[in-house]
Subunit: 143 residues, 2 copies
DNA sequence: CCCAATATGATGCAGGTGCATCTATATGCT
DNA sequence: AGCATATAGATGCACCTGCATCATATTGGG
């Protein structure tokens, strides 16, 4: 049987526990500030980056690594919350294009205040620029 | 507003996406082999490490970073699946001690075959020992 | 000794996720 | 054109998770 080295196992355990702790931490911060969760931020950001033509749900799925049904329901909730709009368009009547509402844009901005603080504090405050680059490079090897 | 550097943001995005992808990947492998999910493995391992006296649920919560109700229900399911046993004991009649059944031990062993292969392949195969140590150290700074 | 505070674990409810499947439209092969 | 296949997105169902709260047992202060 293939057996991973102690170093491999230690790196993996650190990866699991650190990412879990950090995600839970930022999610708590967002909830405490009455803001939407991280997944919503990612969607809001992608839509905003897409610009005035909006973006197709299936493109969002691919970029954010969500399953199709997951994105469908996430967009449902964000729509209900008034943060996005979905419009069918003539080109392909199966599809739709997703846009931010002003409230969606405002929500992204408010989340970013908390999120940026978290990143600057919990990551920027702990890792030097050199460390951050090294970490990113090591993680990329795993991708 | 505090703004995290580009390097900080890139490291964070890599951390999020790599840990997510790897976890989904091992979960898929386990499911494909008809085995229990990762969280179950962690519990089975901790119980086994605890030895013949078993382990208390609240100790499992602390070690595995699960909320109390999460561990309570996880143990319910594992009990129903016949992998563990819970016994109340005289010392503190609020509490209980958790033990592996033979099936639980067997499940842990079978999961480890898949899990070890995954780690050796997807991490050990990609990172040198030096890389693995460096990654672990960088992640520890974030903990 | 008694009562408030604390610790251990369980549970009702609302909401989120995975899986399979469904509907509707578009494309391609003959 | 006609029909099989593929693509975009929605949804029913079972299960899982978070939150609040509960029940029970223990501890500590007066």
């Amino acid at each position: 049987m293939k057996t991973p080295s102690k170093e491999t196992q230690a790196a993996w355990r650190a990866l699991l526990s650190v990412s879990k702790s950090l995600v839970e931490s930022i999610e708590r911060d967002l909830k405490a500030a009455d803001l939407a969760p991280l997944a919503w931020y990612d969607v809001l950001l992608e839509i905003e980056k897409a610009g005035k033509d909006g973006i197709r749900p299936f493109e969002l799925q691919e970029r954010l690594l969500l399953p199709q049904y997951g994105m469908s329901r996430l967009l449902d909730r964000m729509d209900t919350a008034g943060l996005i709009q979905r419009e069918t368009f003539g080109d392909d009547r199966r599809g739709q294009s997703v846009f931010l509402t002003p409230e969606g844009k405002a929500m992204r901005d408010r989340i970013w205040v908390v999120y940026a603080g978290f990143l600057a504090d919990r990551i920027g405050g702990v890792l030097s620029e050199t460390d951050a680059v090294a970490l990113r490079d090591l993680l990329r090897k795993l991708a």
